[in-house]
């Protein structure tokens, strides 16, 4: 029983990382803060750059590829483009 609960919680824990990323999620107002926040969530951050007044991060987790756009004035995600 304990094993089943453990397995279930592990299964639930894995996608929880991805769930953390949503429109409005606060990541930070600087490239460095965004890199740290995403890395802490388990993302492999490949690149962070300024793009059209936003900060754009390229991040990978397993087979998930995401381009994450953050508004530097609020520190929140305004767009997520995921490819997989």
């Amino acid at each position: 029983m304990k094993k089943i609960v453990l397995a279930a919680s592990l299964l639930l824990a894995a996608p929880a990382f991805a769930q953390d990323l949503a429109m409005g999620t606060e990541l930070g107002t600087t490239p460095q803060a965004i890199l740290t926040a995403l890395s802490d969530m388990g993302w492999d951050v490949r690149k962070v750059q300024a793009e059209d007044g936003l900060i754009e991060a390229y991040a990978v987790m397993g087979k998930q590829l995401a381009e994450i756009y953050v508004d530097p004035t609020t520190g929140r995600i305004t767009r997520i483009a995921s490819h997989d």
Binding site: R46, Y58, V60, H83
Partner: protein
């Protein structure tokens, strides 16, 4: 047909240098050429580079180039690699010879054109390869892959400009309308004895 009443000899004498059309480019070569050119143009100038359409066109162009490469081994005579082997020394000699007359017409690509053609194919394959890599977990967001893709694209544009300039220059110097030949498949040579593979 206004001169049908004239003496036959007079008509021949008055006619311009006889055009001698040789079938050189088969339909597959022509279809691939203009489809690749259109694909490059659309992807470079019209389609959003982050769109799925950009990827789709890129792979379509890759498919066409790979098909052409197979055709270079098993295709019609003038389309085969053996008709236009890559030969840098011959290309340099050809370019140096542009200042001299007479200018030779080739049934396949001239030696400089041949190098350009191999260059264009290599660049297109490199673009498709780096484009594919960008969508894999391993290379997604990697700066150098993007840099190589963009560098290849810049070189492609330079190459195409040189390619079209070369086509125009060769057409003028040899009197063979090359663009027309890439459309209807025939090279019209002024002097058939001058032709070379």
């Amino acid at each position: 047909m206004t001169d049908t009443t004239q003496h036959k000899g007079a008509r021949l004498a008055a006619a311009p240098a006889p055009a001698f059309g040789v079938r050189v480019w088969d339909p597959l070569v022509r279809m691939i050429h203009w489809s690749v050119a259109a694909g490059v143009l659309v992807n470079a100038a019209i389609v959003d580079e982050e769109s799925a359409t950009h990827e789709l066109i890129g792979y379509a162009v890759l498919g066409l180039v790979l098909t052409r490469l197979v055709w270079g081994l098993v295709g019609t005579p003038h389309a085969r690699f053996s008709a236009f082997p890559p030969n840098p020394a011959a290309a340099v000699r050809h370019l140096a010879g542009l200042l001299r007359r007479p200018h030779r017409a080739y049934l396949s690509h001239n030696p400089a054109g041949a190098l350009m053609v191999y260059n264009l194919w290599a660049v297109l394959i490199g673009l498709a390869a780096t484009g594919y890599m960008m969508g894999t977990p391993r290379y997604f967001g990697m700066e150098w892959v993007l840099d190589v893709h963009e560098g290849l694209f810049a070189w492609l544009i330079i190459s195409v400009v040189l390619h079209v300039a070369g086509v125009i220059l060769d057409s003028r110097m040899t009197g063979v309308p090359l663009v027309r030949a890439m459309i209807d498949g025939r090279k019209r040579l002024r002097d058939p004895t001058e032709m070379r593979e």
